[in-house]
Point group: C2
Chain length 458, copies 2
């Protein structure tokens, strides 16, 4: 293990806002060990959005079922002088012993619907708050963005090129995974290729071209090194001139029984250039040579390029996917909804939480297209078949093995087909109806009344 | 080492787009080992921005001076079938042997100015591209955002609360460090407290309040656990009612010789509420109790709250800092500018790169306020004292020890005072003039002419 590697310092138990620990210290001091249920949900859609894609659960479950304070972390906490020896001893032996119900990764869900509910003694369920939000928001954010690109691309190929501009390495890995989860062909990210077994793609940068005396020398050199996977970047000096040189190299390769795979455009009017490049390639009989486009692409540009009739086969999406540029965060929260069987609620203005343990039921039409959801109390008899939240952890242990990325990818593909087109519109989507059951509304109102009476004297 | 800890899988040498490795493989095959200089810079400002704060250098230097391919990484690359045994052997022995000139962290810089220049044999300087951009963009992005908050806060306290919604753990750590670097008092992020020795702050969430039968019980319990650092969250049910309960607890604490430190507002009309809460506290003689505000704050809201005459002492900034919400990425690039003493350039439309090794000179007035910058060739005699780019690595080794975060924080404080107020305006800043030296312009034009002649037949 390399001591200079900064990522080796990341210990999940300290991925925590300090208040998780100060609250836990107070719960400990007061002897509060009752069972608490927290609900993790997104309050509202960012502008232009209408659905979310659940992701990150398998990582979170790994972290929570293995949660423990290492000695080095305890030493750091002791050094702050904020915590009693008794509490630190309690942390040393702390494990997560509760249960987690959650939406499997790849599930489509909507505002106000819990992505996750955690039920455990309050110290355990409280202390994982920051970790749970951080892990689930990032992956759900990226999968939700990637889904929009998949929708816009209408079956054309997609590759993740985001690593250089993601917010750190963690985000870069998750962007590659989110892309693959939603149907991307792969990623440029080598580490993601290793960690997640995702196909990796890559050819050359402008620096490669400019390091040679001439563009043609660069093209030839690359085709020598990678005779079976050459994709030439043709916009370094002039895209059409580059395309003609690519034709020349393709012919030289053909003479040796090799085939040029593709060319990449990275600047300029991609729609117009792709058509001209396609014509140059086709006139040379290179109909099979693919055109890859990159350069500040996102779902909006992909849609516009396809509407403009461009001849692009594959879109490489970078920064805008990797930082979810139009919506770089969700209004996501992890809220206590029940403590010792008592429903709880905060009344803070503008921030509604639905009390109690809940379940989501989804109604679909004969073709399997989603019609509406119903948010119910978990113990309610709610028409509509299976609830969407599945138990994944019980007594601190997984109740099933981790799902493979391929399983999750297949689920997303299935789910996304069932989401009506109008809900997928990139700018003015229709909102999917989420109804609140009568019992849940009643409990909410009763709880709010009780609080107003007791706390505010109303 | 915990096998479930996903961050232990991060190996710096694979934080790479695949094309860094395919290019390197081709350079290796062609016997290209000439010295190449790459320049890392930001092309243009995001909307409403006018300066950047250099950050991330010390992390990058650690990673680069220690760069090596571990056996496990070589095995993965071999398994892809893309690389020759000879190249993999070359990678196994690869070290960074070149030099790095860079802006020290905390330096203010501007569009088009190199933040970093790397000179090394081309495989070495190419292969660190993705890592260099990822590390420097994230930290520079966050420090630049944090500086805006510091400017808006006009001397009021600031605390980083962003961890839960940053893009992963890496970003969360860097947000805490960026805040501290620019003058924040500290962070809620426990891991950042440990890793960077930054002061950590934190009290309670709404869940803490709602887990007790009554708000007053929660306040009292917390003051028992943390009698010397109690800050009460008072908006769970009603902010003013909460303030009155806080007064009651403050009196009970005073009877035991303790002092309530503060109250926190997290929702509603923060300006109006802070004034009413201040009045409630002052009327109870609690003039020393501080008011902390949180809840979707950013530089714009902080400015508006202060302009509205709010009584907030400290602002906790979360999500908007942690994801740099108004500008979640920079148009940052790492471009080859010279290979074997030959200046190089790409001509791709809309993406200008200044050729050659460069230096930045800054002119200030008698009071030390920044007047203008001049971007020159590195070997030019340019009036204006010391160049801003400093050599930090030579022959693959640090030429000076890593700077401490305190040193960097002091530099930022000094530098930021010298940036004119008009450049700091949050919405319509004046742009600081960056002049291009005649020699650099001439070399640029000469290089472009040569390329147009040779590549395009112009």
């Amino acid at each position: 293990m390399n001591p200079m590697n900064p990522w080796n310092q990341f210990t999940p138990e300290l991925v925590s806002d300090l208040y998780e620990l100060t609250m836990a210290a107070s719960y400990f001091r007061e002897g509060m060990s009752g069972e608490a249920t927290f609900s993790l949900f997104i309050r509202k859609y960012p502008p232009g959005r209408s659905y979310f894609v659940a992701a990150g659960l398998e990582h979170l479950v790994d972290l929570v079922t293995d949660f423990r304070f290492q000695e080095d972390s305890i030493r750091f906490l002791a050094s702050t002088g904020k915590f009693s020896a008794g509490f630190l001893h309690h942390l040393r032996n702390l494990r997560f012993t509760g249960s987690i119900r959650a939406l499997p990764e790849g599930t489509i869900f909507f505002a106000d619907e819990p992505l996750l509910e955690v039920t455990a003694p309050i110290i355990e369920s409280q202390i994982i708050e920051t970790l749970a939000i951080n892990v689930l928001q990032l992956e759900t954010l990226l999968a939700s963005k990637a889904a929009r690109c998949v929708h816009a691309a209408r079956g054309h190929g997609l590759i993740d090129f985001s690593l250089r501009r993601t917010h750190g390495v963690d985000a870069g890995l998750k962007a590659a995974r989110a892309g693959y989860l939603t149907g991307f062909a792969g990623t440029s990210n080598v580490l993601a290729g290793k960690v997640y077994s995702i196909p990796i793609f890559g050819t050359m940068a402008h620096s490669y071209i400019t390091s040679f005396d001439h563009e043609l020398d660069a093209f030839r050199a690359f085709s020598r090194a990678f005779p079976d996977s050459t994709v030439l970047l043709i916009d370094t000096y002039d895209t059409l001139s580059g395309a003609r040189k690519a034709v020349q190299v393709a012919r030289e390769m053909a003479a040796q029984g090799r085939r040029l795979r593709g060319v990449r455009l990275d600047s300029g009017d991609l729609a117009a250039l792709s058509l001209e490049v396609r014509r140059i390639l086709d006139e040379a009989g290179l109909n099979e040579v693919q055109i890859l486009a990159s350069g500040s692409l996102d779902e909006f540009k992909i849609q516009a390029l396809l509407e403009a009739g461009s001849a692009i086969d594959t879109f490489a999406v970078g920064t805008h996917l990797g930082v979810s540029a139009d919506a770089p965060y969700f209004d996501i929260a992890y809220k206590l909804v029940e403590y010792r069987d008592r429903p709880v609620l905060k009344l803070s203005s503008g921030k509604r939480t639905w009390v109690g343990r809940k379940q989501i039921y989804r109604r679909c039409d004969d073709q399997g297209m989603m019609l509406e959801d119903r948010l119910c109390l978990a113990h309610e008899e709610c028409a509509g078949g299976e609830g969407l939240l599945e138990e994944v952890v019980r007594g601190g242990e997984r109740v099933r093995p981790a799902e493979s990325l391929e399983t999750i990818r297949a689920r997303f593909e299935r789910e996304f087909r069932r989401l009506p087109e109008a809900c997928k519109d990139l700018r003015s989507p229709t909102l999917h109806p989420v109804h609140i059951s009568r019992a849940l509304q009643d409990l909410e109102e009763k709880t709010a009344r009780k609080i107003r009476r007791e706390e505010l004297g109303d």
